[in-house]
Amino acid sequence: MRTGRVLLLSIISAVAGCSGNQAALDPQGAPAIHIEHLIIGITIVCTVVWLLVMIVLGWALLRKRSSDSSQPGERSLTMIVGSAVAATVIIIAGLTIASFYTTRGIGLPENAALTITVRAQQWWWQVIYADPDPVLSFQTANEIHIPVGQDVRIQLESADVVHSFWVPSLAGKQDLVPGRSNSLLLRAERPGIYRGQCAEFCGLQHTHMAMMVIADEPADYQRWIAAQRENEAIPTDQDAAAGKIVFLSKPCAACHTVRGTPATGTTGPDLTHVGSRQTIAAGLLETTRGSLAAWIADPQTLKPGNNMPMVPLNSVELRNISAYMESLK
């Protein structure tokens, strides 16, 4: 065990070094960096204390006991135990203060210039970029773009049960509680893709409720915003055009929105730019035509219990509709 503890620190550095994009010890944003410092600090203090206790334990058990005359005095034992308790109090007070300062250092989401609303549902993330001008507002799903080096306030709401928003490389987690509105400060120092995952048990597919935070350079971010504000890309190739007709004639449109078409359902994710997203089904599959087809053909096998029903399609319809989805860049 002692080696286990020593190993921890080396493992911490190993974890921090690897490319894991969902790790508390691979922080890429100010809040997560502050917390990482606290984690390492407390871990070191606690490891030292534990080692000391173990040394005393070993010594107390194995020390040589010469003769009956070596009975230690109760008074000196009282002194030692008393000092150990006093040391505990001091260490505990120190850690508490360190914790307070970290909380303050993380910053307040209220001061952020940009607000993005995340509304969690079983089992995906609805992301709303609201604008006073409704024409400029848009929605996306399971993918949040933010500008690098800027404080972003994420407003957290839930449409059904309690979920928890957690992108460990950027910040600690915060619950999304029905009937309440929480907020969280997010900030990325470097461009990159940061994975997050629902952290509060939310039912059958809690496991498959991931999302990506993509930090873009400010110019890229503006380009992305502009693209998202556009209506659907009118399909140009034949398959996709046929797919659009299938999409609008089947039950798909009852649950999904594709802006610029009659499809205005709001139960499922907005699909206006689904082809431009990295993943589908809340981080379950990479967005490719093949995975889109697999998902549409049988969502219940890939993510049992999710709210998307299997819509019977023949192979041509399936090919066309996947082509259409892929074309919605």
Binding site: R63, S99, T102
Partner: protein, 637 residues
């Protein structure tokens, strides 16, 4: 019952040992056969049943844990589907907390406390019988429901609205909520019995400063149960009402509050940890004293630490809700209070260390488990300090880091002492010794297996692995450690298997145990192993904290109790001065009928609120039967 003439009251004065034993046995023994087994109120028989039942639930919960480890051993495994997996982790948590950890500690107390305070039976022995039947019924309800695929699947914490009427269709969440009612009724009953036994039935002379530390810890635990359990009973009843009759306690759309559930649950849920941990502290103190051949250092400090922990336990619950979005200032208060509980915990650790240092350790199996406890529990305490910090917690809350943390606390802090306690008190309970060789092997396997299984989970949590997921994708960096953890769990399971084999083998054919095999100093060792039905032929009189220290030839005893009716001594709360001869109820079948009637009412009420009305009729009949004066000396006195 011997024939008895009016006005004649045969006392134990002047009877020789043989005659005394014959007459007391006749008065106190449980009749053989099924009827006797069902109607007994002997705290030793009920305690034994309680312990065995709790360990059966431990084994079942362990099997569920192995099933989860199988599923998580590799990414995207398909051994268990999401629906079954959610039931399994809910069952594992619910079973371990409500059917194993709390009951097993109470079970140990039901058996040991009356012996340790030197009395003949627990207070309210029929309530004790009732509490066991209720516990058994609650356990069966949960496990039968699971066997027929109706096991709860909302987590052992059953957060609303997921567990509410809208998102948890069917009866699964109701099974969970009603199982709570069963186990809480039984826990509250035992808590009341323990408090009264400790306050009013101590042997003459056992003043407050002479109570064994295990008894102190059970006293504090019992008060915790009495104060914490009502919160969860209110919460689970409100949940059943929301689900069954359409109230809106937890429905924000109608003015209810989702966080109300979390507050109520954790107001119980955090003291629950100490309800499990404090008895273990008492066990550790007992074992440390016996195997270092000296009293525990700092008796007063230890008692004060127990009480301080018990009080602080009620001021920490919000640290389970640090990411729920409560005001930051309030959260900081709970960081401070959660950190502060490390102070009494540390004090106890230091006192045990001082005892070990000053004593002469004897490395028998029970003591090995205590050493294992020290190593593991201190790690659990350290990670406890970590999660008490709000910013730290926001990264590790609901991840495998927390899974590792609370297994270090609960397995390290409670199960290790408990296993040590089983090795320690097994000879008293069964009259036979457990195997020292197998005990050492079991300890080695459990200690190694435990650390290899749970330590890597800290790292998995920091790598971003959330709890309660039934699988993970191969691109996540978790596969290697998960496979390692699953393989290590096999070592841990092998250790427990060896423990069970040893316990069963020793109960059947272990070497016979003398009255006091460990040369311990508390009163339960002053009587034979196993104790006679009446516990002590003459009730001991206590003159010190360690009445059997240095194996005294004789122990002063009190005499004057009746031998042909069940009698014990009632003593004063502080000084334990004898106040009265009090009769103790005899065997009765009515607690069983009452428990059965209550069971019918509670299960029926999952389906219709009218069950509370109609079901209360058989409950009333059973209670009337229970309390009806029957003309027996114990009942009339």
């Amino acid at each position: 019952m011997t024939t008895r003439h009016e006005g004649e009251d045969l006392r134990d004065r002047g009877l020789d040992e043989m005659e005394l034993d014959r007459r007391l046995s006749q008065t106190w023994s449980t009749p053989a056969g099924l009827w006797g087994a069902l109607s007994t109120v002997d705290h030793k028989i009920i305690g034994r049943r309680y312990i065995v039942t709790a360990f059966v639930f431990l084994a079942l919960g362990g099997i569920l844990a192995m099933a989860m480890r199988l599923q998580l051993s590799q990414p995207e495994a398909r051994f268990i589907g999401p629906d079954r997996y959610n039931q399994i982790f809910t069952m594992h948590g619910t079973n371990m907390m409500f059917l194993f950890a709390v009951p097993v500690m109470e079970a140990m107390a039901v058996y040991l406390v009356p012996l340790m305070v030197g009395t003949r039976n627990i207070a309210f022995p029929r309530l004790n019988a009732f509490s066991y039947w209720m516990y058994l019924a609650g356990g069966l309800l949960l496990w039968i429901a699971f066997a027929v695929d109706t096991g709860p699947d909302v987590g052992w914490f059953a957060y609303v609205p997921l567990a509410g009427p809208q998102y948890a269709a069917g009866k699964r969440a109701d099974i969970w909520a009603q199982m709570i009612t069963f186990t809480e009724v039984s826990a509250l009953a035992v808590a009341v019995e323990i408090v009264v036994t400790v306050f009013k039935q101590r042997a003459p002379g056992m003043s407050l400063d002479r109570i064994p530390l295990f008894v102190w810890s059970m006293l504090v635990t019992s008060f915790l149960i009495i104060m914490a359990m009502p919160a969860i009973m209110i919460a689970s009843s409100a949940l059943i009402l929301d689900r069954l009759v359409g109230t809106h306690f937890f429905n924000p759309a109608e003015g209810g509050d989702v966080l109300l559930w979390q507050h109520l649950f954790w107001f119980f849920g955090h003291p629950e940890v100490y309800i499990i941990f404090l008895p273990a502290v008492g066990m550790v103190s007992t074992i440390v004293a016996t195997f270092t051949r000296r009293p525990v250092f700092g008796y007063l400090a230890m008692v004060m630490a127990l009480i301080a922990t018990g009080v602080l336990a009620f001021g920490l619950w919000v640290h389970h809700m640090f990411v729920a979005g409560l005001p930051r200032l309030g959260e900081s208060f709970f960081t401070a209070s959660s950190m502060a509980i490390a102070i009494p915990a540390g004090l106890q650790i230091f006192c045990w260390l001082a005892t070990m240092w000053a004593g002469r350790p004897v490395f028998k199996t029970p003591f090995l488990f205590v050493i294992g406890f020290m190593v593991i529990f201190v790690i659990g305490g350290m990670t406890g300090v970590m999660v008490a910090s709000v910013p730290f917690d926001t990264q590790v809350h609901d991840t495998y880091f927390v899974v590792a943390h609370f297994h270090y606390v609960l397995v390290g802090g409670a199960v290790f002492p408990l296993l040590g306690a089983i090795y320690y008190w097994f000879p008293k309970i069964t009259g036979r010794m457990m195997s020292e060789t197998l005990g050492r092997w079991a300890f080695g396997l459990i200690f190694t297996g435990f650390n290899l299984t749970f330590f890597p989970m800290h790292i998995l949590g920091l790598q971003g692995m959330p709890r309660r997921i039934y699988t993970y994708q191969p691109e996540m960096p978790w596969s290697g450690l998960n496979m390692f953890v699953s393989l290590s769990a096999v070592i841990l399971a092998a250790g427990f298997l060896l423990f069970f084999i040893d316990a069963i083998r020793s109960a059947v054919s272990g070497t016979a145990a003398p009255a006091n095999p460990w040369e311990a100093s508390t009163l339960e060792w002053a009587t034979s192993s196993p104790p006679p039905p009446y516990n002590f032929a003459r009730l001991p009189v206590v003159g010190s904290l360690e009445p059997l220290f240095n194996n005294p030839e004789t122990l002063p005893v009190a005499s004057g109790l009746s031998v042909d009716r069940r009698e014990l001594i009632v003593s004063s709360v502080v000084e334990a001065l004898p106040e009265a001869r009090e009769s103790s109820p005899g065997n009765s079948i009515w607690p069983l009928w009452s428990a059965l009637a209550t069971t019918v009412l509670l299960i029926w009420s999952i389906f219709t609120p009218w069950a509370v009305v109609w079901g209360s009729i058989p409950v009333s009949i059973a209670l009337i039967g229970w309390f009806w004066p029957k003309g027996t000396p114990e009942d009339d006195a």
